[in-house]
Every structure is written in C-alpha cells, then in structure tokens.
C-alpha cells in the first residue's frame, strides 16, 4: 500500500522565481492538504483540495496556488518566491467521510530560496 509521495525531495530556487511541488495521496484517499513548516515551527495549513477544487484555505497570499487532478494527485505552485518561503512543504492526504480525522503525511519537499 503506497503511502503519500512527494517530489522533488529538495529544491533550490532564486528570489522571484516560481516553483511547483507535487504530491500523490495514499491509495484510497481523495483529499489533499498542503502545509508549510518553517524551521522551529509546527506545520501551517496552506490549503486543501477535494474533488479538484480548493475547499479550504489558510492565511497564505495568492502567490500560493494549487491544483488537484482527477487521479487525486495535487500540485502546489508558489510564484514570486521570497526568502521567507524557504521551508519544508508537507502534503497530507485523507478521506472525506472517513471515520478518522487522521491525515497521512508525505516526507515533504525542502525548498530553499536564495
């Protein structure tokens, strides 16, 4: 049973550039959430996708956008990168209507903006 996978593992970008991160959810899951974890902090919710639509959004600017595909995989796009966007980006999958609120996390993508 494949868990949540994310790519790439690491990424180095320059200020002002754009980046796309990818996530495949755990088999059987239909909802993908993205979190940003800055150094020394807990993960912060960015947004959640279900049925190919953004269902909920955290307190992040419009530079952060996403997409969910028919196979439930998802992308996170960040435009006009800032130094402060350097963080670990985590993808989590879950099942709407499932009996558990548990979300399964991928290993994350470490983004460094220079």
């Amino acid at each position: 049973d494949a868990g949540v996978t994310q790519s790439p593992t690491h990424l180095i970008k320059t200020r002002g550039q754009q980046v796309t991160l990818r996530c495949s959810p755990k088999s059987g899951h239909d909802t993908v959430s993205w979190y940003q974890q800055a150094l020394g902090q807990g993960p912060q919710f960015i947004f959640q996708y279900y049925e190919e639509e953004e269902r909920q959004r955290g307190n992040f600017p419009d530079r952060f956008s996403g997409h969910q595909f028919p196979n439930y995989s998802s992308e996170l796009n960040v435009n006009a990168l800032l130094l402060g966007d350097s963080a670990l980006y985590l993808c989590a999958s879950s099942l709407v209507g499932g009996w558990s609120y548990e979300q399964y996390f991928g290993p994350g993508t470490r983004l460094t903006v220079t």
């Binding site: 807990g42 955290g58 609120y101 290993p107």
Partner: protein
Amino acid sequence: DQQVKQNSPSLSVQEGRISILNCDYTNSMFDYFLWYKKYPAEGPTFLISISSIKDKNEDGRFTVFLNKSAKHLSLHIVPSQPGDSAVYFCAAIYPGNTPLVFGKGTRLSVIA
C-alpha cells in the same frame, strides 16, 4: 496567536522511564486532538488521537489524557525507548474535518 501551544521545546528522559509531553489549547471549539511524531527527513506520522468526549485514550505504550476544563492534553509514553526520540507535535481539529492546527513541537530525547 497560537491556538495550540507546546511550551516545552525539548525533553530528555532516561530509557525505561515515563515521558510526559504537554499541550495546551485556547479554543474550546476544538473537538478532536491528535499527536504526531516526526523523525528528521520524514513527514509527521500519526501516533494517537482523542475525541473531546473522552478523557483518556490508550494504545500500547502511548496514552493521551484530555482535561477539557483546563484546555490541556498530555501524551504519556511508558516505558520510553531510544527509538521514541523524535519531535512530537500536538494538533487539534474543529468539527467538520477541518485542517489540523499544530503546536510548535517538543523534541524528545530518550537516553539509553
């Protein structure tokens, strides 16, 4: 404003002893709480959870206690093992399967 607080950045415990990790929350609307464990270079892994209608949930060596009146929960690990050394995150969720709200984490070191 942090809604979920883990006030101890780190904790060191001898192998075989009890580890107690604490978490406080500010919003009484939270109705479900979860603990995640995170090793370096890995994503958080679900450990144990508790509904707001309960005050205790046990799973093997791990027990979570919830004190709603104090808005406080704790994770007990007995006995602690070196493999338990990791960062532990407390998370809370509002009704309706909303996003997880995390604390900043507590780094547990279990010394052999």
